[in-house]
Symmetry: C2
Subunit: 311 residues, 2 copies
């Protein structure tokens, strides 16, 4: 037996498993396979295959899996990005049986939040929100030292907080949600709408392709007016959302990560901090920190949670 | 010994203590005294006096106290409404020593939330926000069956969630906070501002006095345009705030209470529910319920928490 555990990042297109030291977060080994489209049994077998590759002698005592859907008590409630996954699955129990060892299952973004809490920018802080700003905006809540799932596995869904009543359409069908202002998909959709009236550098760069964080940074450096406006709205949206959640839930720290944060870095986070409006609670009440760029945060986070199951 | 406990509601002007059956919430006895302005020692003696009055033979095993300030682990961090209370006080420890029995201390609004969770509209639901809409807007969070204090005792401060970026000034010094739109103080302040330009029925009724919920209901019934606009903004503010918190924290239930909710009742709560914008999570994800008008919810809630300390 060893203290090393296995962390698995189950994605819509690929499964990536790593051997992880849960104390340092150091990841080694790497077993990767395409996510089968043959349904749940196939996914479980594929995960087991990567575990066997990394640990042929069965020495690792626990496996943690991050999944792209809501999870409650080891049950994956939905998994819209994985073909054939059309009903809730007791994935923790089924993996534990198939693998013959302890298994832990968490939402992948929540697993990333756990990694930041235990090994990254949130180390030593027991109450925090980790926010990941990428194509969409996701997050995870750590309260009193423990990751919160919530009764429907939805806790941490920071992207769907309303920041502008009746505002921009969100991909989820709602309006004015934070993700529509701060996520890359929301930003580029709005840039396209404005481009039709008055061309902007962002869409001229991206054309019909998908926008990367570097496009955003470049158009910003060029001083493109539309891009600056959109970033300004994203900054305000994040400040409003962070201020609200940090106040109501009482969080002294918010960790920010994801592609846009990595690209725009500290100056952008400082702007968000400047716009926090916490009133009488004092502007020093919420610290913002940039997430550590942990190697494979999803699988490392799942591994950290798996290690907890062994204690 | 008896299973009855004592609940104390410590307010800025009076201290009210009741004998409470923590299983049914039934309150009996009633010992009341003015809140001393001589500092913390005086307040502790005054509380002890009410306890002696209710329980002269010292048969009650636990006393719970709700206080108008943030509490963490039995320490009252601030208490701005009580004269001489100018520093954090280990009230739980000091009361336990003075009273010679178990003591529990909680924020008064959080105690009210605990009462709703255990005995009122939140019975049987382990994850909820209770919101009290009165002069201001307060709240309490129950997560996984337990009241959340938060590391700074601020959890549940629902009134200071931002609903309109850069919006109306809030009493706390911030802008656009929910309390500025949905609390009586915020509504009447805005009505006075508008009255200066174009007279409205609400201020004509209230004059220079303080607005009661019945004034609001009456001006609304008269179809006063300003009042209807202000109520419309309050409705949207509550819907936005509830939707945001319920999504990010994952709460299936929000309990609404306080003077305005009691006065406007079910039709208003239905309007708030209609405006919830939860997008893809489905509009049925958050139930709204009206708080039970528990007799002295503050002292009953504190008593419920005190009873827990005996288990």
């Amino acid at each position: 037996m060893t203290t090393t555990v296995i962390g698995v990042d189950l994605g819509g297109t690929k499964i990536l498993s790593r051997l992880v030291d849960p104390i340092t977060g150091a990841a080694s080994g790497r077993a990767k396979t395409a996510t089968p489209s043959t349904g749940i049994d196939g996914v479980i077998e594929a995960i087991a295959g990567t575990v066997d590759t990394l640990d042929p002698d069965g020495e690792v005592a626990a496996v943690g899996v991050g999944v792209p859907g809501p999870v409650r008590d080891g049950v994956v409630l939905r998994c819209p990005n994985i073909a054939g996954w059309d009903r809730p699955v007791e994935l923790r129990a089924r993996l534990a049986e198939r693998l013959g060892r302890a298994a832990v299952v968490a939402n992948d973004v929540n697993a990333g939040a756990a990694a930041e809490h235990r090994l990254g920018a949130g180390r030593g802080v027991d109450d925090l929100l980790a926010v990941f700003v990428g194509t969409g905006v996701g997050g995870g809540l750590v309260l009193d030292g423990a990751l919160r799932d919530g009764p429907r596995g939805l806790a941490g869904e920071f992207g769907h907080l309303t920041v502008v009543p009746d505002g921009r359409p969100c991909g989820c069908g709602g309006r004015g949600h934070l993700e529509a202002y701060a996520g890359k998909a929301g930003i580029v959709a709005e840039a396209r709408r404005r481009h039709a009236e008055s061309p902007n550098a962002l869409i001229e760069m991206v054309q019909d392709g998908s926008m990367k964080s570097r496009h955003l940074a470049k158009a910003m450096e060029q001083g493109d007016e539309t891009t600056l406006e959109l970033l300004d709205e994203a900054t305000t949206a994040l400040a409003v959302g962070i201020g609200s959640i940090a106040t109501v839930v009482d969080l002294p720290l918010v960790v920010l990560g994801g592609g846009i944060v990595d690209k725009l870095g500290e100056p952008w986070v400082a702007q968000i901090a400047d716009r926090l409006d916490l009133g009488g609670f004092g502007a020093d009440v919420v610290d913002l920190a940039i997430a550590h760029r942990l190697d494979d945060a999803g699988s490392v986070g799942a591994a950290v949670l798996a290690a907890d199951a062994l204690v």
